[in-house]
């Protein structure tokens, strides 16, 4: 068999995935920490202040990567949900459901920092700006997926139902974005742009890119550590899970 296909089969085996994820985790957390430290140092210290927004613009180093992550994770969740529904792969169910809380966390960060940015820039904590409003709807979509997942008793059935909802959500998301944008022009909302044209200075740009990469690592680390635990819970009847439980006890 093709070695790549073989590797995928192996990856689908819970104990193998559990061990592999366990070995990757320290590296992922480490890379995330280094990346976030470097990105924030570049963003908060090295980058010059924006000529319009002065130092307040530095919030973008958190706000914008979080916004990217909120969409990226939703997409990741939907793709895994699709795989889980079509091919009934257990690992995909688990990955999709493990991604949801991480995505909700980034969406929340994006909303909170957007609000913290809006206060000095627009003078209010909240504005019905198209981007923020879509992000709010996105948060509700995440909460719906998480809520549905936890409301159903059978774990695998719950994962399939929530994955289905995630797929409906991904159809809905562009429609929401489009409609909110249209609605925004209708009501002549605030027009202050978060991205000024000034964001071309490379000293401003590279920390943003580093943060974008670092948050991906943070997501991967959180995802794998969640998936590991969920797998352990789901497979608690199996031998390998018992051995881990017993090994932990003797070491603890």
């Amino acid at each position: 068999m093709n070695p790549l296909v073989l590797w995928f089969h192996k990856l689908g085996s819970p104990p193998y995935f559990y061990r592999l994820a366990g070995r990757l985790l320290p590296w992922l957390w480490g890379l995330a920490a280094i990346g976030i430290a470097a990105g924030l140092y570049g963003g908060l210290v090295l980058a010059p202040p924006d000529y319009q927004q002065s130092d307040a613009f530095r919030i973008i180093y958190i706000h914008v990567p979080s916004a990217w992550m909120s969409l990226f994770i939703y997409f990741f969740m939907a793709v895994n949900g699709f795989i889980a529904l079509v091919w009934r792969i257990k690992l995909s169910e688990i990955l999709a459901m493990a991604a949801a809380p991480v995505g909700a966390a980034f969406t929340f960060i994006c909303l909170a920092t957007g609000s913290l940015w809006g206060k000095p820039m627009w003078g209010t904590w909240w504005t019905w700006d198209a981007r923020l409003t879509s992000e709010l709807v996105l948060l509700f979509l995440y909460l719906g997926v998480i809520g549905l997942y936890h409301a159903i008793e059978d774990r695998r059935q719950a994962a399939r139902a929530a994955a289905f909802l995630a797929l409906i959500g991904i159809v809905n998301l562009p429609i929401v974005h489009f409609s909110v944008k249209w609605w925004n022009t209708l009501h002549q909302g605030s027009t202050v742009k978060l991205f000024g044209p000034s964001l071309i200075d490379s000293r401003m740009l590279w920390p943003l890119l580093i943060m974008a990469v670092a948050t991906k690592f943070a997501f991967a680390a959180s995802l794998l550590s969640r998936a590991r635990v969920d797998l352990l819970e789901l497979e608690s009847g199996k031998d390998w899970a018992r051995q881990i439980a017993l090994a932990e006890e003797t070491s603890a």
Partner: protein, 219 residues
């Protein structure tokens, strides 16, 4: 289990390595058995041995975790649910607000009608003539069960899957179930019925299929 009497006709229903897992815990299986026209097979087992789940899998309501179900030699898939299976579950699938006649008409619309029988006939054969237009709400539990049995007579299904058909019935009602099963078997139909053993199909000696609750896995 005993191998069935050698019959030339193809198996109406065949299960191969059939198993169902919930949360990775086995509910039943793996099971191998075949059901031929004219047979009534009794599924015995304690509470929690997966009788109801087995019927749901055989009807196509649940997808098996392993193995396959063949109906007349062809795989049973959701897309090709046939007119050949009728399921009578714990929930009877009848509306308390409607009359027996209304309920049966709906069942016919959904499942088709066996030739040579009318809803009135069916109600008569389950001993409910005179109750055609009484809302089910006013009938007893046993009478409701009889309405559900009348549905089986009407739809053209060759395979009956009956979950605890004797529950809620008096002695006369149980005899009625047996009579219906006999007629159905003579007509070339087949039936799988579950029972936890209190009262069972008595005419002839039906084949039995024993389900055991899966052993506690911690052993």
């Amino acid at each position: 289990m005993n191998s069935p009497a050698p019959l030339e006709a193809p198996a109406l229903l065949q299960a191969r390595g059939l198993a169902y897992l919930r949360n990775d815990e086995p509910i039943f299986g793996p099971l191998d058995f075949a059901l031929y026209p004219g047979e009534v097979v009794l599924i015995e087992g304690d509470n929690g041995s997966g009788k109801t789940t087995l019927l749901k899998v055989l009807s196509g309501l649940l997808a098996p975790s392993a193995g396959s179900v063949l109906l007349n030699g062809e795989p049973l898939t959701l897309a090709r649910l046939s007119h050949q299976v009728a399921l009578l579950g714990h929930l009877l699938g009848i509306k308390a607000e409607l009359s027996p006649l209304q309920n049966l008409r709906f069942a016919i619309g959904l499942g088709g009608l066996r030739p040579g029988i009318t809803p009135h006939h069916a109600l008569k054969s389950v001993g409910l003539d005179g109750y055609e237009d009484v809302p089910l709400r006013q009938l007893s539990a046993g009478q409701k069960k009889r309405v559900a049995l009348a549905r089986l007579l009407l739809v053209p299904a060759a395979l009956w899957l009956l979950d605890e058909p004797y529950a809620n019935l008096d002695r006369e009602g149980m005899a009625l179930v047996n009579r219906l099963l006999e007629v159905h078997a003579l007509r070339g139909g087949a039936a799988l019925i579950t029972s936890h053993g209190a009262y069972a199909y008595t005419s002839g000696t039906p084949r039995r299929l024993q389900l055991h609750a899966p052993a506690e896995k911690a052993a």
